[in-house]
Homo-oligomer: 349 residues x 2
């Protein structure tokens, strides 16, 4: 309902041309969407700018989401563009409180693409869809000349029915609520960066691409209405997702930086490259905000899901510092953690 | 239901690589979809290979459709990629008997694209969506390096609730049923071809891009259950759409070629280029099959819609020549009209 959407200051998009950063999921992306695209398409559902749009069709409350995938290379340790396309879409629905009912896929293929490459990705999509328990019910195929795309791009669309047990709303977030994270951050982004072979770095690391619905399902079962907000921290990482929440709810977020799990290999690569693991994309993790009284139950539920052993409570909502994310170090220091600025990792998904 | 899908001979995709023809909407496209993509994603909804997929979400019967748009040039007389993306998706739903409830749009943008070009297309989409009475509720934006796409590609997704007044089914088509067409064919494809400026041809012609829902709505009102089948003859044209119907229903289709409206400019360009207007893409026309007893009412209903003045009855369903489309000339001759083969008009939508 439009009455629920707070009046945000109008963003103006004044850049003369599109740059890589507009696709990175950080500040520039947000300016493009809020300043150019959303005003033209103005409607109350879009104005929520959520991972998925929720609206009524014939009396049923549905969630839908659309994603484009342009990752380079097409295959990388732990996954490929096809798996990413399915999991990413299933996950956008999941964190909106909807289990995917059906997916569609639109392929843009480059003339000259080996049929085996396409077959491998179609099979990867079929496998990921089967693991997520969702059928791919339709799609579209276009072909462009050799050189007019990088092998293949995939756009996916997902639809699901909202789970009646939850009512997610960033405006329901309260000071004292806890922030949970399902596992280590940065695996996907760093894997892609290393897989390009442009850096003289090697590390034993794989993309975390996977469906997060099992975490969502466990969380809903454990705390139902005490679950306030969820997000999958993809492009822009945990820092961008939490900044978006801070802006939406108007409260502060205190992050205990040492409680954020980061693999040694990811931390090492980030140090060499001057990157912050909190800005690196994940494709199989989720963030949740729950009432403090339910936080331990919620954490136990996440840890009970296979692959959730490293879930943590990483922070809490604060009445102070509205709209910002503050990192607190074990030495007692604090720093403001911003959204991603620029595009250190292009074409990550 | 899977029991309703006839057993078709299994198609094998043995091509070594993707060629432009695989995106042209004709025989090669069908082989790619039936031989490579659909078997991997195997499920009863996809097996229908219809313009839109229909299934249940939370008890409501919905139709969804996915489309990719890679048209070159981005703007052309009568429209642009943005209008095409909205109308094409709205139309796929319309011919499935569903009025669009919501659209989503996924953009793949090339770094360096002038912001004004994007703004013009976003505005074009907003205008087309407003004319079709449907909100654009969400989407996604990715940016690829300069040279990695042609300015912009757009993937659109649409969802709608099926109109309870109709039950479309190619297997309900009967010998004697009439084939209706909403207006002149070939305008879109020939407009794009000339707009590229690669041919020394000029003609006063514009794309026919428009929503066909008003025709569908009028047809449903006029003949309800007597309406058997609808299709928008885009890539591959009227010939491909009717061949697909002939295959699906197992009956023959007799087309009175002289009754198919073709503008002088389109016919002239086709003659010079050696193309058949029946193979040229349309973006604002529709085909319908109705019971013979209701055909005159159906025609009157289509003609009563603004822009439908040139609607015609162009043929009928026949018990003979199962699976084929026969063109009949006024001199009494006949010819077999095949699906589109190859790709005479790449990147038409």
């Amino acid at each position: 309902m439009i009455a629920d959407v707070p009046a945000r200051p109008r963003v103006r998009f004044t850049d003369a041309q599109i740059e890589m950063a507009h696709g990175a999921g950080g500040k520039a992306s947000r300016r493009l969407v809020e300043g150019l695209i959303a005003p033209a398409f103005a409607n109350p559902v879009l104005a929520q700018l959520a991972d998925a749009a929720t609206f009524d069709v014939g009396g049923t409350r549905v969630a839908t989401t659309a994603d484009g995938f342009v990752v380079r290379p097409l295959r990388f340790p732990g996954g490929s563009i096809g798996e990413l396309a399915v999991n990413g879409t299933v996950n956008d629905l999941a964190v909106s409180g909807a289990r995917a009912t059906a997916l569609m896929a639109s392929f843009i293929l480059e003339a000259g693409l080996p049929a085996e490459t396409l077959r491998a990705e179609v099979d990867a999509m079929a496998g990921a869809a089967a693991r997520a328990g969702v059928p791919i019910v339709g799609g579209d195929t276009k072909v462009v000349e050799h050189g007019a795309c990088d092998g293949m791009y995939v756009a996916t669309f997902g639809i699901g029915a909202l789970d009646a047990r939850v009512a997610l709303d960033p405006h329901a977030v309260r000071p004292g609520d806890r922030v949970l994270l399902s596992g280590p951050v940065g695996d996907h982004g760093i894997t892609i960066l290393l897989a390009r072979g442009e850096l003289d770095l090697e590390a034993d690391i794989r993309s975390d691409t996977r469906p997060v619905w099992p975490f969502v399902d466990a969380l809903i079962g454990a705390c139902g209405g005490a679950l306030r907000w969820m997000r999958d921290p993809t492009r822009g990482g945990v820092a961008t997702a939490l900044n978006e929440l801070a802006r939406e709810c108007g409260l502060g977020i205190v992050l205990h930086e040492d409680d954020v799990p980061v693999r040694r290999e990811v931390r090492g690569a980030c140090e060499v490259l001057g990157l912050d693991p909190l800005h690196i994309a994940n494709e199989g993790q989720m963030l949740a905000v729950v009432d403090a009284a339910q936080a331990d139950d919620a954490l136990a539920a996440m840890r009970g899901v296979p692959g959730g052993e490293d879930a943590r409570i990483i922070g809490e909502i604060a009445a102070q510092h509205g709209g910002t994310v503050l990192g607190r170090t074990p030495y007692g220091g604090t720093r403001v953690i911003d959204m991603l600025v620029g595009d250190p990792l292009p074409r990550i998904c």
